[in-house]
Symmetry: C2
Subunit: 342 residues, 2 copies
């Protein structure tokens, strides 16, 4: 019998909680036979919402959690203080092995803190990076790290490169993924202190396909599969992707409404263009995994709807099937042993 993947879903997180998270869970179990969802949140509300859905009953369960961590709350205090919140309860399921993964569109800060303190890092992992997929000209790239660890050290970035490489190869199926470090020029001597320290360390890594520095200009063209960056810079890249895309699209739409001639044209190009713009929407690629933890934690965008939740849940299947956490652990142990040999 096929192994069943168990995913805990924070039903209380995100702008459209709980209905979109529930719809996403229903869609996921209908699409995939080997996934079981634990919806975590206020029991009565979830029961009422679920009552109107049709789905294989044995594969969606409700786990009660009476509290909710709000987006504005200081993360550390929230994780410590709200023991019965959907985030803490959901993450405990992962820690105790009752779920393989936890998906949430709730407070980023709380998810990052909870990931490290509740689920816990794999032995040898110094920091757990948040690594969303971002759209590029002909595919996607993994942006690692993008908000979990500001002011990171060079050794952290080297681990991010390794973990990102494992993820892209085994979850996304990219053979020998190209790893680049975000820099302000392509020459080896360019960069800030952190990049200058990290570059030679990445060059020495025999287990990754390091292609050197990439400038931010080249990211949308797909210059690397794994884009290594300190969290502050990574976050700026991710947010600018969103903001610039939205502004450009609104300007283009505006220009199309500027004359009778262009309005006619707009009607004709609309279907083709909509498809293109959709493919360039960073939010559609499910969620961002928090890598390097003992179980998978996936952070979805706050404005996630049914499709994003569904994609995030399905993403957990390959993560588990491909044994990503084990691979990361083995890789880091191997690197450590090699160092000790020398």
């Amino acid at each position: 019998m096929e192994e069943m993947i168990k995913v805990a879903v924070d039903a209380m997180g995100g702008d459209y909680a709980p209905s979109e998270a529930i719809k996403g869970a229903v869609a996921a179990v209908k699409e995939k036979d080997n996934v079981e969802v634990y919806l975590v949140g206020k029991q009565e509300i979830l029961e009422r919402e679920l009552a109107s859905c049709t789905y294989p009953k044995e594969r969606i369960h409700i786990v009660g959690a009476s509290e909710v961590i709000e987006t504005g709350e200081p993360p550390v205090a929230a994780i410590r203080g709200k023991k019965n919140s959907s985030i803490v309860v959901g993450m405990k399921l992962v820690r105790q092995g009752e779920a393989d993964a936890f998906v949430s569109a709730g407070s980023s800060g709380a998810i990052l803190v909870g990931g490290t303190t509740i689920v816990g890092r794999i032995k040898g992992v110094e920091r757990a990076p948040l690594a969303p997929l971002i759209p590029t000209k002909d595919g996607v790239s993994l942006l690692i790290d993008c908000g979990a660890n500001v002011d990171a050290r060079a050794s952290h970035l080297v681990q991010f490169a390794r973990m990102g490489s494992i993820y892209m190869e085994h979850v996304m199926g990219v053979k020998n993924p190209r790893v680049g470090i975000v820099n302000i020029g392509v020459e080896e001597e360019k960069g800030n202190a952190l990049v200058k320290e990290t570059y030679p360390l990445l060059k020495e890594c025999k287990d990754i396909n390091f292609i050197g520095s990439i400038e931010a200009r080249e990211i949308p063209a797909g210059a690397a599969d794994v884009i290594v960056s300190e969290a502050f810079v990574g976050n700026v890249i991710l947010k600018l992707y969103e903001g610039l895309g939205a502004t450009l699209i609104s300007k283009i739409k505006g220009s199309m409404m500027s004359s009778f001639r262009s309005k006619m044209g707009a009607l004709l190009v609309k279907p083709a263009m909509k498809k293109t713009l959709k493919s360039f929407d960073a939010s559609q690629y499910g969620g961002a995994p928090l890598l390097g933890l003992k179980g998978l934690v996936v952070k979805c965008h706050g404005n996630s709807k049914e499709t994003e939740f569904k994609n995030a849940i399905i993403q957990c299947i390959s993560f588990k099937e491909q044994r990503i956490s084990q691979r990361i652990g083995e890789n880091l142990v191997a690197v450590q042993e090699k160092k000790e040999e020398i």
Copy 2:
């Protein structure tokens, strides 16, 4: 009589040297009566190119410079070693007061190094930031710093905020410009060590309109007039603007060619859309001033053509007329005196 503004132009810098720089100079003197251009570069080549142009002869002069600094050369060595290069010769004209400004599309590194070592900083200025205008939804914002000083300190960023504010108010005519610092969240406690240190200092500045943190997502929407950032992050923002714009446009064009229906529509929307996309092209706003120097230095994009050179030259007129360097000097002296009083 109106004061004549003297602009030295590096005729040997950029991808289309020397012809586009020359065309830009010719266009500028034709458009504005109060500007005089000193074209710096290889005498014979410039004489030959100029011979075919019609322009007011008394307002374009050639200044011979036999060497050229290439883009790949290590900047410090190039500035020291090539005393007769167009960049060094042009900057010396500014230092000696023979020109008010220097415009170049050549090596960024050499321009930054030369700006500080040849033209020199205004007394009190700790670092000279590179500050391009970037397009936003309904206008432009000044991105300061974007490549001149990686690993800057908090006191540098505070000066950038002041200088940027003066520039936007007096050159761009923005009343009481809104100053924001790039951050990964809008709450005061968010950020990396540098931003956390800089934020309270900016809050204390009575001479600027500090509006707090802005996320990269809000930049394209025009959330601030002056966007303060450490150079590494600023450079990433600028380059991603270019790269993402180019990729999105190429994808949209591709989608329009995908069917007969959309091809027809494309013909109709093309004129309106072209205008919109042009307004969102970062390279069209002349050049990026290097602020805080004793004279103006403007860095143009390497792929600048006639219009960009012309705009950069014309930009120098308001800079000089509005006495930006003097204003910056006075502002910093005033701040210094206030500190000493306390």
